[in-house]
Every structure is written in structure tokens, then in C-alpha cells.
Amino acid sequence: MISALAILLISSLLAVPLRSLIGPRAGLLLALAPAGLFYRTFKSLPEISTGAVFLEKTPWISSLGVDLSFRLDGLSLLFLLLIYGIGALVLIYSVGYLKDDPLQGRFFGLVLFFLIAMAGLVAAENLILLFIFWELTSVASYFLISHYHTDAMARRSALRALLITGCGGLALLAGLILIGMRCGTFSLTEVLLQRENLVGDPRYLLILLLVLAGAFTKSAQFPFHFWLPGAMAAPAPVSALLHSATMVKAGVFLLARLFPALGGTPEWHTIVTGFGAITMLIGAVIAFAQTDLKRLLAYSTVSSLGTLTMLTGLGTVEAHKAMVVFLIVHAAYKAALFLVSGSVDHAVHTRDVRRLGGLLREMPLSATAAIISGLSMCGFPPMLGFLGKELMYEAKLQAPQIAGLVLSAGVASNILIVATATAAGLRPYLRTKLDDNIHGHEVSWTMWFGPLLLATLSIIWGSMPHLLQESVIRPAIEAVRGEPLKIKLALWHGINPVLVLSVLTLILGAAVFMVIKILRRFREWLGALVKGWNGDRTFDLLFDGTLGAARYLTRLSQHGYLRGYVAVMIAFTGMALLWAVWKVEAWHFAFQSPDLFLSAPPALIILILLMCGSAIFAAVAKSRLAVLSGFGVVGFGIALLFSWHGAPDLALTQFFVETILLILMLLVIGHLPRFQEGRGMRLRDLMLSVGVGLLFAIVTLHSFWVHTNDSISSFYLENAPVAKGNNVVNVILVDFRALDTMGEIIVLAVAALGASAVLRGSPGRSETGAGRRYQLSFKKVISQRKPGFKETLS
């Protein structure tokens, strides 16, 4: 498996150089990679069909329990064949489709990159590895949807799809981690054996919901379905490959994959079947109301994904059989239809089904492919679609619970799908030309080759279902069920309820189509109605809502007023200290010893009171000189205090520093006319300051009483002679703790040099070279107005 991924990776990297070297035909060469892999996978069919499982394991990140381990069984094989096969066809198709696109090389590369992700996803044996590939498919999808990158709509849709699947992916990740923690391993094989353990987990429902969130978002289940039609902004081959045949089925794949471990419980049945059925119905209704060929197909895909999910949820052998067969059926006809719709768009330049007509004559080969696929979609015998529908009805008839409900939903949506298929797959080609302004022409062989091949396969497999039965379908079902089975597929089962239902569906579908043709206004009304069902507006609203809240909160917290920031910090400090003071009950210490108050020389008391008074005076003083003299008293007073308490070095330094600072202050702020008081004099400031100041005082007091250890200072006193000095403070500064002093002088140097840099030069800006450009641009940046709310999203 690693070799397969490596081959794809290499071809992906080669895409751009190859395209620029040999032109669009590079795509044909690159298609050889998935085609070859298809062949290789195909060759291993016989072995897999005997029930063999290939495991391959390369250690990667052992401490996280993530290995590069892969598992090839019936289910992954089926998906691999789909991925490689349709991948190769899509590459060939893109040769013609994007012939003139300068980004065609990158497109090829991205498609191949997507193939890596998808192949890795279905083959991964390690849950985390699976998740990695899961997210990579979303990423690839994002890039492919935004291929027409200058189109704002495409960018928006791509973002929306990425966010939806990304959200689901994160939920899935949490679910997978929970599974891994419960099972003690991320190995899929081992997890699948621990059903009892997982289902018995009190968090089972949580795990299930998380996993389903991932699966549902990926497979565009209601209510997350809306991203898929949006993804139609992508080029048609992308829609065919990612958004109908492979990636969107990853959710279904995941459900099928984890069925042996998580499935079969009542919760599973209810939720999975329920959401599947709703999606199936809603998708069909909306699809029916569409007029754009691609959107129409997209919503019918949503409906089909709902069907697949529902079948997986039902959980019976019949249901799984139907699921596997319908998976193949759907991949074949839907990919073909998408590709042809791309061709039509390419040739005719419109996708409006109301205007299209007479295309069979103008583009016969593409039209043939579309018609066959349309018939398959309707469920006409002997197409593969007929088989799929038969099995579906059979499964629903035998559904354990709520069979009637599921069945009627199924029939109803199938009727609508028939009508839709007629509109999309048959009418544009078969009916006469309506609009003379529309001219079609047959497209190049690269573009009809794929759809025609798929259509042919629909017929061949439909009429000879045993071709697939043993080699692909049975192993796949066995892999889902985890047990050996016997199955029988046949086109003709005799006349039974299922056949009756099938025929009824076809007739009613055709009838609906006819009636609607007449009741054109009903269709328009329906179209207008279902527009509201489109979740993307709700999503945008939700998203804009959170963005609005975010904006509000950001404005609130990041308002740009320094004093507000300072207030928050002081208040936070105050709260932190308050909590600490309360915890250590600091106030007890404050009044423990009365001699704290008494034993002070009067001179000291007077000095301190003088300093307090000066500080407060400075706070209320209005003139510059008054404030500065207040500060002077405090500063020199501190120097005196230092000297009083046996710190002559400190006193000297404080004295010098205070002098310098006062001089500097006088120099720098000397040119101010007056202090503007602003709105500073507010009670809030006062209370905050007094309160937090008090807390600092309490904390200091508290510190006197809890000396837990003697200071290390005696060492310095004893060892100063060793360091050949008598002034212990100085010895500490230049010897014991020289590194501190080193830092200190560097601070000084930087401050001084920086002051001149700020005032004179400008290290942050320059006049020549690159810096000049920057400077110019910089002005633009700051003169920017604030971005509007709308701009943020687009």
C-alpha cells in the first residue's frame, strides 16, 4: 500500500513539470499511475475473495500509537477500485476539459494528491492514520473546489465545505481518540474485535455521536448537506470524482468500516437510519426542483448518500448487500452524468435544463453515455441501476423496524429521482432543439471516453451481475459484516413485491415528470420553497453570528486605551493578591506584635510620613514642578532610608539615579505647558489604586512573619575575603553574581542606545532597498480604515 501511495505521490509531484513540458497530454501519462494501480488491485481480487485480509505495518510514531499500517479486505478493495478507476478516467477527462487552463498542471497534481488521501483513507488500519487521510481528503477537496480561484463564489463554497467537514472531522477525531482510549489501541483490526467493550462504555452514545458527526458531515447528510451543492463550483471532473463517486462516500465507508465495532445497537439503528432517510427524501425533493444540470445532479447525490447511509443503518445482510451494490451503481452512473454535464457545459456553455435540447445529434457519444446512465439512475433493466433498486426495496421490505416508513420514504424519493433522472439524463439529449442560439458539438475523445466506458459497464454488469458478485460484492459485504456469507445476485427474480414496486416507481416517476412539465409553475414554486431549505444561509448566519460575537468581544477587550489595559492588569493583580491574602489569612499577622508600631525612632517616622505626604501631594498636584518635587522627596527619602538601614551603596546609587532621573524629567517634560488632567480623576481609579496598594502593604507585612529559612547571605559575608573584597555588596555585584551585573549594564547600554535610535535614527525603518518599499507600504497600512463586517467572511 505504501508503494501505491508513493507512486501516486511521485506522479502528483511530477504533474506540474510534466504539464509544462508536454502540455495537456501529460494527463494521459499521469492517468497511467491510477490505472496501473487499478490493475494491480484488480489482480489481488481472487485472493481477497477467498476471505484473505492483507495487513501491512510500518512503525511511525510509536509513542502516539500511530503506525503506517494498512488493511486490504473486501471493503477497502471495492473502494480502491472505485478510486483508482474513476480517478484514472477523470484524469483523462481533464486533459480535454481543462486544456486551456494555465493551472492544469496543478489540477492534475491535486487530483492525484486527492487519490493518495482517498486510497489511504480506505486502506488505513490505524484509526489516527485513517483520520489523517480523512482530513487530507477535505483539504484536497478544498483546493479542488477553489480551482477557479478568482471566483469569489468558488472560494466561499470551498471554505464552507472545508469548515463543515473540518468541524465534523474534529468531532470524529475526538470520537476516535475515545475509542482508542477505551480499547487501548488505535489498531482498527483490534478495535473491531472489541464490540462488547465499546458498546458497554458509558460513553458509547457520545462516541457514536462524535463518529456520526464526522461521517454525516463528510457524506453530506442532513442537516449538513448544503456544502455539497456548493462544491459544484469545482470543475466537473472534480464533481464526478470527489463529490459523487468517492470522497462523499467516505462517510458511508466509515460507517460500514466501524459497523462491527459500533453498529447494530438501537441508537445506531435509529440515528443512522433516521438521518439517512431524511437526507434521502430531502435530497430528492430539492433535486427535483433544480434547473441547473449540475446542481440537480448534486442534490440527487445527496439523496443517494442518504440512501446509502440509511441502508448502512438498517444493518441487515440485505441492507448491506443493497448498500454495496448501490454504491457501485451510483458511482458508475453519477460519475458519468457529471462528466457529461461538464462536456455539455463545455460545448454548449449553459447548464440550464430548461434550455437544453437536441444534444443527441450534436454530441452523440456523450449523449449516449448520459442516456444509458440516466436509465441506470431511473432503475431501468437491464442497467445496473435496476439491480440496485431491486435490492434496496428488498432490504427495506425486510427492515427490522419501521419498515413501512422507510419503504414509503424510499419509494417516494425514488419516484422523484426517476423524474430528476429523466430531466437530467434523458430530456436534454432526446428532445428536440429548443433554442437556436445554443450550439453543441462533440467533445474530444478524452472527454467522452470515460462516461461511455462507465455507461457500458453499467449495462454489462447489470445484465451479468455474477461478474461482480463473487469477486467484489461478496468480499465487501463480508468485510462489513465480519462473517462469511453466501449471496446471489440476479436480474430476474420473478414477479414479487419488489418487482412491483420497481415498476410502480418507474411509472409514477415518469408520470410526475410529465405532470410537472405541464405544471411548470408548481416546479418554480417548489424551487423557491426549497431554496429556504438550503442550509448554507443558516450556516452563514450562524457563522456570522459567532463572528459578530467575536468582534464584540474583541472590541470590548482590545479597545486600544492604555489605561483600560492597565486597569485590567492592576485589577487582576489585586484579585490574585486578594485570593492569596485570604488563603494565607495574612491579616492575622498584621497586628500580632504591637512593637511593630512602637519601636521606631521619631526621625524615621517623620521622614516616612513626609514621604507619604509628598507622594500623595504629587498625585493631586497640578503643576509640573510640584509633582517633580514631590517625587524628589520620595526618591531622596528612599536613599536616606537605605542609608539608615545599613545600605550605603544603595543609598549612593539611589541618590545618583534619582538626581539623574529628575534632571532628565525636567529636560524632557519641561516643555509641557501644563498637565492635562483628562478624565483621570475618577473614583474608580482611586478605589482600585487604594485597594491594590493596601493589598501590597498587607502582603509585605505578612512576609515578616513567615521566615521559613535563613538567608544564604551568611555565605557571602564569610566568603567575601575569598573573593578578595570587603564591601560585600560590591563583591556580590562583581563576583558572586557578576552575571546579574552583566545583564544590568546591557540593559543600560540598550536603553541609552535605544533612546538615541528612537529619537534620531530609526532601526525599525529605513530609506533604501527593501526597507523603503516597506516604509511606503507601512503608511498605507496604518491609514487603513477598519474592515467592514462583510469583508471578513468572504
Binding site: 486605551y561 514621604m611 532610608l641 539611589q654 532628565l664 478624565r679 491594590v692 496598594g693 512576609s703
Partner: protein, 112 residues
């Protein structure tokens, strides 16, 4: 005697916060200066106040008793000098701000 110093510490912190909360850039700067001095005094006090001798040996190997703790002195000395650097730089910045904005009103420097 400590209580008096503690009183002073409380006042210094309180007043410095009051200054810092101002809209006027000059007052903010003065607040920083005062804040630094309050912190220095707090370290000095918290490490224990003595009325003892300076931690200077007399050369004969005897340490005069009682002696002030030399380590906090060294720390504060470093802190004072660092504070000088910071305030000095802030003053330069302040000056540039005044040249740029033409005022000491912080609201005129508000950008976000």
C-alpha cells in the same frame, strides 16, 4: 518600626497605580518611576530591616554585628539601575510620542 515602612510601601504602590491609570502620558511615566521605587522598597523591607552595620568587612576577618543582609542590597542595586535604563528609554519614547502626536494625550496614540 516595620509598620511605618509598610505604610510607605502601600502609599507608594497606591499612588503609582493612580498615576498609571491616567490618560496623560507624563503621569503614566511618573507612575512607572514610582512603581519601581515601591518595588525596591518592598524587597528591601521584606528581606528584613536592620539598623545594623553596612555589610562591609573590616579587613580583619571579623564581621561587625548586627549586619544588614547584603544580597537584597545587591539585587536592589541592580534593579535600580535597570529601572533607570527603562525609565530613561521611556522618556525618549515619550518625547518621540510628543513629537509625533503633538500631545501627551494617550487617546491620540490609540490605534486599536
Amino acid at each position: 518600626m516595620e509598620i511605618w515602612t509598610v505604610l510607605l510601601i502601600g502609599v507608594l504602590f497606591g499612588v503609582s497605580f493612580y498615576f498609571l491609570l491616567s490618560r496623560n502620558l507624563v503621569r503614566v511615566l511618573l507612575g512607572l518611576l514610582l512603581f519601581g521605587q515601591g518595588v525596591n522598597l518592598l524587597i528591601f523591607t521584606s528581606a528584613g530591616l536592620t539598623t545594623g552595620h553596612a555589610p562591609i568587612l573590616d579587613g580583619s576577618g571579623n564581621t561587625p554585628q548586627p549586619v544588614a543582609d547584603p544580597l537584597p542590597q545587591a539585587l536592589i542595586l541592580t534593579a535600580i539601575v535597570i529601572g533607570l535604563g527603562m525609565i530613561g528609554f521611556s522618556l525618549a519614547l515619550f518625547r518621540k510620542a510628543r513629537e509625533q502626536a503633538g500631545a501627551v494625550d494617550l487617546d491620540q496614540l490609540k490605534e486599536d
